[in-house]
């Protein structure tokens, strides 16, 4: 994956958030404050805009800059977590101008670690991680098995979506949704939907 492809990827994430703006608003309006559709479209758009001119050849720095911009633009829960994910991915890939399959895996693992370290959520806490983690696992396995990135993303996106759907078995323990306790169980987690959409953006290449 070269610079143009990585930038295009960020563009597609931004686009898929726009397409699912109302869906995210709707999900967040049930458990939270309805802002997720706005923050994710504004945030990923800003992230994309910050790097789309292609002036940054270092893909690590490119991701870091995209993340920092997103954090400044939308400092909500998910905005900040996504910023932390992008920045950690950037730190991890610093110096690369081209990404191998393994690098892509590293990108996603670092993204997950960045979110996990800041958010301190465990799997099963009904968060972004519960959508993202299954996708990253499938991605990693596929890349290790030597499958093509296209195939792998397809499967990873499915796994992430299933993870998202599966959040209806969990009780929220973080953020606004947590105040509902047991009543939060039957509801889909909006942050996990964002995870599934990010994966889908890569698959829809």
């Amino acid at each position: 994956m070269n610079q143009q492809e990585l930038i295009a990827m960020l563009g597609r994430i931004s686009k898929i958030m726009v397409e699912n703006r109302n869906y995210l608003i709707e999900l967040d309006s049930v458990v939270g404050d309805s802002d997720l559709g706005l923050t994710m479209t504004d945030g990923f758009q800003a992230a994309y805009d910050a790097v789309s001119d292609g002036s940054e050849p270092d893909l690590g720095k490119l991701l870091y800059k995209a993340g920092k911009t997103m954090g400044n633009k939308v400092p909500s829960t998910m905005g900040t977590l996504m910023a932390a994910g992008l920045m950690r991915a950037g730190k991890t890939l610093k110096g690369k101008t081209e990404l191998s399959g393994t690098d892509v895996t590293a990108l996603f693992e670092a993204y997950e670690a960045g979110v996990a370290d800041l958010g301190k959520a465990k799997l099963g806490d009904k968060t972004f991680l519960d959508g993202f983690h299954p996708g990253v696992q499938v991605l990693k396995a596929g890349v290790e098995a030597g499958e093509s990135l296209e195939e792998v993303f397809e499967k990873a996106a499915l796994a992430a979506w299933e993870g998202f759907e599966h959040t209806t078995t969990m009780i929220a323990v973080h953020g606004r949704a947590a105040t509902r306790g047991e009543a939060s169980r039957s509801l889909k987690d909006p942050g996990a939907a964002v995870a599934a959409l990010i994966m889908k953006a890569f698959a829809d290449k």
Binding site: D33, D35, G71, N72, S76, T77, T80, G119, T179
Partner: protein, 337 residues
């Protein structure tokens, strides 16, 4: 949406422009960013205290920047955290070598950004930052002992500001100011009631619906669900229900000495707040709990929500001393004339 505003996108910045021109003796901003508000009267050598959070809660947060209270505040969009970078700007501006204490409400967005800011302050600026998170809404679930606090922060943060601010003004060092802030935070409890919703300007419609004859006891200051929705009752009944939940929580006992904050959420007239204060007093008298001071008014609002909250701060002589100390900020003045 019935508001006296221009385009919703400019709501926060236009409000801030108004703040700076009305209170030039108290506050200014740093890094050319209106949302990075700092005191106009920096005291060298003093521990800096910073807060921050979403707009829509005036006079919280920025209104308490001034002598004897806070030194800086970063401001986000309505009900949205400011960014870590904005917090960092404020931190840099108010630090004078004695370190900076962050005091903020127990909300995800704020926590994540303040954590990032603290890390950046340490790594990039060599500023020692400590944090105290205020969360005292007894309507939100209590964490198991030893677990991290899961409660929402609401109006009780006022007491944390006041005590920590007085300690910093008295020249205490960062660890000591932090200890006082934690002590105040550990000894305050709040419960609220909402009668109407509020509308985030950029959203354009109310955050929730509630019947013309209904109230929600325990609702949070962004409209987070409370513990019970029901038919509107009398002020005395509602106050009794809220006080029962508050009193049993620490618990507050006969012989204790407290400060009381009756806080209007925005649309509820002062008259009603005093009617509730009167009932709070009757209940505390009956329980043998002594009230050292009353604060009544709008201290922490939810835009134009109707309703109010009651906060109790349990005090020993140390906290009392800090609570009684003078303060002079745009929105809170005590003992200054």
């Amino acid at each position: 949406m019935k508001k006296l505003i221009n385009v919703p996108e400019n709501y926060v910045n236009e409000m801030l422009e108004g703040i700076y021109l009305a209170h030039p003796d108290y506050v200014t901003y740093t890094e050319g960013d209106l949302r990075c508000l700092v005191t106009s009267n920096k005291v060298e050598g003093k521990v800096g205290i910073a807060t921050g959070g979403g707009s829509g809660h005036l006079p919280l947060f920025l209104g308490y920047v001034g002598k004897g209270m806070l030194d800086g505040c970063s401001v986000g969009d309505v009900f949205q955290s400011p960014s870590a970078e904005q917090m960092l700007h404020v931190t840099k501006s108010i630090d004078s070598g004695a370190g900076v204490l962050y005091i903020y409400g127990n909300y995800n967005g704020d926590i994540f950004n303040f954590d990032m800011a603290a890390e950046m302050a340490d790594m990039e600026e060599d500023i020692h930052v400590e944090s105290v998170v205020a969360g005292e809404d007894v309507a939100s679930p209590k964490a198991a002992p030893g677990e991290k606090n899961t409660r929402r922060g609401v109006a009780g943060i006022f007491f944390v500001y006041k005590c920590a601010g007085a300690a910093a003004a008295a020249g205490k060092d960062l660890q000591e100011v932090k200890r006082i802030a934690e002590k105040a935070a550990a000894n305050v409890r709040t419960m609220g009631v909402a009668l109407t919703p509020c509308t985030v300007p950029r959203v354009g419609h109310p955050g929730f619906e509630i019947g013309e004859d209904e109230m929600e006891i325990g609702m949070g200051i962004h409209g987070e669900s409370g513990i019970r929705r029901g038919k509107l009752e009398t002020a005395d009944e509602i106050t009794s229900e809220m006080m029962e939940k508050i009193l049993e929580d620490i618990p507050y006992c006969a012989g204790d000495e407290v400060a009381v904050l009756v806080n209007g959420l925005g649309a509820t007239p002062l008259d009603e707040q005093y009617i509730v204060a009167r009932k709070v007093n009757l209940i505390l008298e009956e329980k043998g709990i002594k009230v050292h001071r009353y604060y009544v008014g709008e201290y922490v609002t939810s835009i134009e929500m109707a309703g109010l909250s009651i906060s109790l701060l349990k005090m020993d002589e140390e906290l009392k001393g800090y609570l009684d100390a003078p303060a002079d900020t745009p929105f809170f003045k005590q003992g200054i004339v």
